[in-house]
Symmetry: C2
Subunit: 162 residues, 2 copies
Amino acid sequence: MAPRPQAAVDAAFVAHCRARGLLVTEQRRAIYAVLAASREHPSAEQIHRAVRARLPRLSLATVYKNLEALRAIGAVSDVNSLHEHGRYEAALPGTGVGQPHHHLVCIRCKRVLDLHDRRLDAFRLGAAQAHGFEVRAIRVQVEGLCPSCQMARPSAAVRRSV
Amino acid sequence: MAPRPQAAVDAAFVAHCRARGLLVTEQRRAIYAVLAASREHPSAEQIHRAVRARLPRLSLATVYKNLEALRAIGAVSDVNSLHEHGRYEAALPGTGVGQPHHHLVCIRCKRVLDLHDRRLDAFRLGAAQAHGFEVRAIRVQVEGLCPSCQMARPSAAVRRSV
DNA sequence: TTATATGCAAACTGTTTGCACGTAG
DNA sequence: CTACGTGCAAACAGTTTGCATATAA
């Protein structure tokens, strides 16, 4: 929470890259700097646009490659980590799937299960109101490993992804 | 929750379509039937594949058009409703963005704000364990209208989207 | 009969990949 | 010096759109 001076953030970033074996390039630092300075959860294209102000030759492909590289070393996380492609469910009251419920998602096989839990439904507002939001829905997504994926030994990629 | 006989679900679906002015086609019923019968939160392509077993000429475009039409009348909802495109955030401990936190998303302008709320962090397990999941993270996404979007009068599209 | 839905193919958008060149260490 | 990173362009995947044909009501 306490916003650190950007120089300190940059130093920590550089150290983290070195420790994990990534080269430290100007592009990489600039991309991270944009992310660290933003509260906007920007998309790859927004990052590209922002960094381009300083490095006009930066390519979008480099942004993507870096986001992936930084995610792999834990310096960046994706806000909507899972199932980036549309997933749907029946919602008609009467189908038995209409009630409010939450989701249990397996970070390995990407399965999504419904989760019915009274405690989770209990929420209402709170800090959201401080931001002036008019709350319409609360969606809880529990991420973890499903039983069958616990069997298979976790790959390095998965182990570091959460 | 109580899984209704599929005939009853189909009847309710047909009635809902008629009430909202949508024609009742075989494709539409089949698409909905697949969704209502599934606990898998399928993607458009999975739905397409499943329905094709019965209606081999069904096109993928029709699946997409129907998912949108059904979403508009509230018969279907998307599991990952918002920002289907990648959104990132700095995660390096020390940047001030590393701590566990949740997201407040505006369903209209799609802005994503961080939400820090001790009560939300309080969760741990619960029903998830019943499913045998090894829980790694809990992500709470509060959806609503941000202050500036409350000003602008809601469009019909937005009003029905939650 | 007529408004709506379907199927196909082409267009679009976001993301990924291959490769020649550049640069950090 | 050498491995890794960058930029470009082409390839891809998921989704959307335009239009002629088919069909529900």
